[in-house]
Symmetry: C2
Subunit: 197 residues, 2 copies
């Protein structure tokens, strides 16, 4: 696709919109501000997008797919041919949450989704869930299943464990401790022989 002025403007709008939506949220993000940061006029934004909501949806879904692909590759790389599982999980968590300028805007948008979902159609929210979080969790669950088959993990429900792990590393920042808890739990070891287990 040739670089044309029209494409340039489109890209600039998408980029600026992602930054502004991520920074101040859907409602507070004004078309004026987005236009200013994109270096275009508001009229131009409306030449490319029907309205604010369509802009939001397009920006959100495009970056969700992009980020999901990166995360899937990351999971593949980190959890294949594992020799030291704790270290691999810590490395995955660290890489997963490492600040990356090109994705920071997207993550900022994502972190707001729960609170802002009532402000746009539910199908946008669901499309994001499908394109982003769920897709990545499925990839993680598949890896967990393989690790289970290799005897490295004891996960009766890999999907649940994947969901739990992603919640833990998203919300709690000390990854060595998180991974340790994920693998070993907090029950004293002598209790593994206790009745009820």
């Amino acid at each position: 696709m040739a670089v044309t002025r029209r494409n340039e403007k489109y890209d600039a709008i998408v980029r600026a919109a992602r930054a502004v939506f991520g920074r101040v949220g859907y409602l507070t993000a004004s078309i004026d501000l987005i236009a200013s940061e994109a270096g275009v006029s508001t009229r131009t934004i409306y030449n490319h997008f029907d309205n604010k909501e369509h802009l939001f949806a397009e920006v959100l879904l495009a970056s969700s797919r992009q980020v999901a692909e990166v995360h899937e590759a990351m999971i593949e790389r980190r959890l294949t041919n594992v020799t030291d599982l704790p270290a691999a999980l810590v490395a995955l968590a660290e890489e997963w949450n490492r600040p990356q300028p090109e994705f920071d805007d997207h993550f900022a948008m994502s972190r707001r989704m729960g609170a802002e979902r009532a402000h746009f159609p539910e199908k946008i929210y669901q499309a994001w869930r499908e394109a982003g979080p769920w897709r990545v969790q499925r990839a993680l669950a598949e890896r967990f299943e393989e690790l289970r088959d290799q005897g490295l993990l004891d996960v009766p429900d890999a999907g649940f464990a994947a969901h739990l792990f992603s919640v833990m590393i998203a919300e709690v920042r000390d990854y060595p401790k998180v991974v340790h808890a994920f693998l070993y739990g907090y029950l004293p070891r002598s209790c593994f022989e206790c009745p009820g287990r």
Copy 2:
């Protein structure tokens, strides 16, 4: 304190504000809507509160303290004289997240705090953190320490474990599985004798 018309109106405003802030968020919650649900005029709201932000802060902090007291008592009740720890933790998680009409509005407000914090002064956010989540987590950490002293938990860092547990039960809804993972982890049991542990 005698029930006066003024107190009645104040209470009605606070109650309606909590519901509206929780339902649609700080920005979208209009004074008109709150007044309508409270059954007062907007003028009356300004007779009681300087502005929208003060209303929000007062509503938020009052209910945070109230809910924290309930949670502290709950933790005390559920994690004292424990005979079956897994069952006690599951019961705590279930009670913690059980729908309670009188607190639903508060929890809805709380769930939005992360995304909405940029819209009001940071000190409101921090005051909420102190009056609510942190306070409850400290109570939970103290309980975990006692359970550790009783040999029922192996928690080197009770504060961390408390934080992790509260994140887990807040974000993941299958409490038996969550508690199982929290206590036992996902490492196969034979690996507890592996090197590197």
